[in-house]
């Protein structure tokens, strides 16, 4: 099954009810099973610039590469899946583009963006993230956060300093410990997860999970399983009903069928016949 037919992708982004700018950016490249979501920060319109650069670099570079090669190939140097290497390298590339732009233009000084990106291939998904943009997964009845925020609050939770209940009222909710574009180098967290038929993946900016409790997000995802565009609308509506204090973006990916990679030999023969 081609990746394009195996996945259903929907995205929506909204400035929210308070902000005039939308500093979030989203991209879905159905042909290669790639989604990218970013949440920019920085004064004036610099946040939009940073998030825009990150999405376009990651989406276009990976798309271009996958026209010639495959995500399930192994990288010769590290032995990792190409998907992992592609995500990591291109997030770094985006990092450098943003950093250089910020260095050369004073109005962009200090701009940066959080990022979450998923690349689906061979019944797996490689997920890269930096900062507090998240990926959740609904599998069967279980809805859970797959990524772990790079934020002060998450570190406090991890170290046991603060409980989940206290975290909801913490004043430190939006301090991220990593972002794309603020330094010459960025540490990108990438993991590969196995994918099952029927899974629904939700990628979102903190404008969703800061405004809507995880349990309520889970309820919406379960209830609207059969209608993905409506699910996206409902999620954004829920964030706005609760105040919509931040830009809110969601990307939803439903796995409709398996998408195991065809073997190399088979692919080669097929390519040979086509030529």
């Amino acid at each position: 099954m081609e990746i394009k037919e195996a996945l259903e992708m929907v995205s929506q982004t909204h400035p929210g009810k308070v902000r005039s700018h939308n500093e979030d950016s989203v991209a879905c490249v159905a042909s290669c099973g790639l989604v990218v979501l970013t949440d920019g920060m920085g004064g004036y319109n610099a946040g939009e610039v940073a998030s825009g650069i990150a999405v376009s670099v990651v989406a276009s570079e990976i798309k271009q590469y996958l026209e010639l090669a495959r995500a399930d190939d192994k990288d010769v140097a590290s032995g990792e899946d190409m998907a992992v290497v592609l995500l990591r390298n291109n997030v770094r590339k985006a990092n450098l583009s943003i950093y250089n732009a910020a260095q050369s233009q004073p109005q962009y000084a200090g701009m940066g963006t959080t990022l979450v990106s998923g690349l689906f291939y061979d019944n797996r998904v490689a997920v890269a993230h930096v900062g507090d943009s998240r990926m959740y997964r609904l599998r069967g009845e279980i809805f859970e956060t797959i990524t772990r925020d790079h934020s002060l609050l998450q570190e406090q939770l991890d170290s046991g300093m603060i409980s989940q209940a206290d975290a909801r009222v913490s004043l430190n909710r939006n301090l991220v410990t990593r972002a794309v574009g603020i330094d010459e180098n960025v540490e990108v967290e990438v993991h590969v997860h196995e994918v099952q038929r029927g899974d629904i993946y939700l990628f979102c900016s903190d404008g969703l999970n800061d405004m809507v409790e995880d349990d309520d997000i889970a309820d919406i995802v379960r209830t609207f399983k059969s209608n993905m565009p409506l699910m996206a609308t409902q999620l954004i509506q829920a964030a706005n009903d609760n105040g919509g204090r931040d830009n809110v973006s969601v990307i939803l990916v439903k796995v409709k069928s398996n998408f195991a990679a065809t073997s190399h030999l088979y692919a080669k023969i097929l390519a040979w016949f086509k030529n």
């Binding site: 308070v18 507090d132 002060l152 004043l171 301090l175 330094d183 059969s226």
Partner: protein, 260 residues
């Protein structure tokens, strides 16, 4: 620094302290930041650890304990207007952070670049804890402690906005009910207490009733046929329900009304 504490006894204010240090200690011994010379107070009684905009209070195994708002605690995440009691002394915690900022700069995401020391989980290990944190490399320890921390102070709380508003809204509304009018289940009532209520049969026809701050809305989710409200097909649109609206869905007629 936004937060401060006010020490008082018998309603008389003794002293005000800004929480300017990451760790402020309270006790009878003179090396404490806040010295209370009273025999009911232990030598090292309690500590207040402040991280960015949040402050935590810890009892340092004192003899007579620490109370916050009337309850004995070992460790407590301080909220503005909390009253800490140590013996006869009262310490009020004030964090004007919530009131100072406006909605415009509400929760802008900021990057932490300087090494921020997490508070000590154990009372006496403030330094070792911070070292351990640097060693893990989670924070960017090389960046200078620069303007980013100052900027971070501009961001504001959600405690007063988002979640709180979300929690309070449903109760402000009258509870609505759906009553089935025909078929074997005629007369049955369903209270709409959840935010989302699914109606219909999966795979055939499904509609969802959404409870929102300003009312109840019906949306078509799946199936070839749309639900009908008061004889009108719903189509792809979302429709706000009024008292005594009649919904028809998958052959079942039901009435929507508010409980009085």
């Amino acid at each position: 620094m936004a937060a401060k504490i006010i020490l008082s006894m018998d309603g008389v204010v003794l002293q005000e302290y800004a929480l300017s240090k990451e760790r402020m200690t309270v006790g009878r011994k003179p090396h404490n930041d806040i010295v209370i010379d009273n025999l009911a107070v232990s030598g090292d009684h309690a500590a207040i650890v402040t991280i960015q905009n949040d402050s935590f209070l810890e009892d340092l195994d004192s003899t007579n304990g620490v109370m916050v708002n009337g309850a004995t605690i070992k460790k407590h995440f301080l909220q503005t207007n909390d009253v800490i009691e140590i013996g006869k002394y009262k310490i009020k915690y004030l964090n004007d952070h919530q009131s100072q900022t406006t909605a415009a700069d509400f929760e802008r995401t900021m990057v932490l670049r300087a090494p921020v020391k997490l508070a000590a989980a154990q009372p006496n290990s403030a330094t070792t804890h911070a070292d351990a944190l640097d060693a893990t490399g989670k924070f960017n320890a090389t960046a200078p402690l620069s303007g980013s921390l100052v900027k971070a102070a501009v961001q504001s709380s959600l405690g007063t906005g988002g979640m709180a508003a979300a929690e309070s809204t449903p109760s402000a509304q009258a509870i609505a009910v759906i009553q089935i009018l025909n078929g074997p289940n005629a007369g049955k009532e369903l209270e709409l207490v959840k935010n989302l209520t699914t109606l219909g049969k999966p795979g055939v026809q499904v509609a969802v009733l959404t409870r929102r701050p300003h009312g109840y809305f019906l949306t078509h989710v799946e199936g070839e046929i749309f639900p009908v409200v008061n004889g009108e097909s719903l189509g792809e649109h979302l429709r706000q329900l009024n008292d005594h609206d009649i919904i028809e869905l998958a052959g079942v007629k039901m009435e929507f009304y508010f409980k009085t």
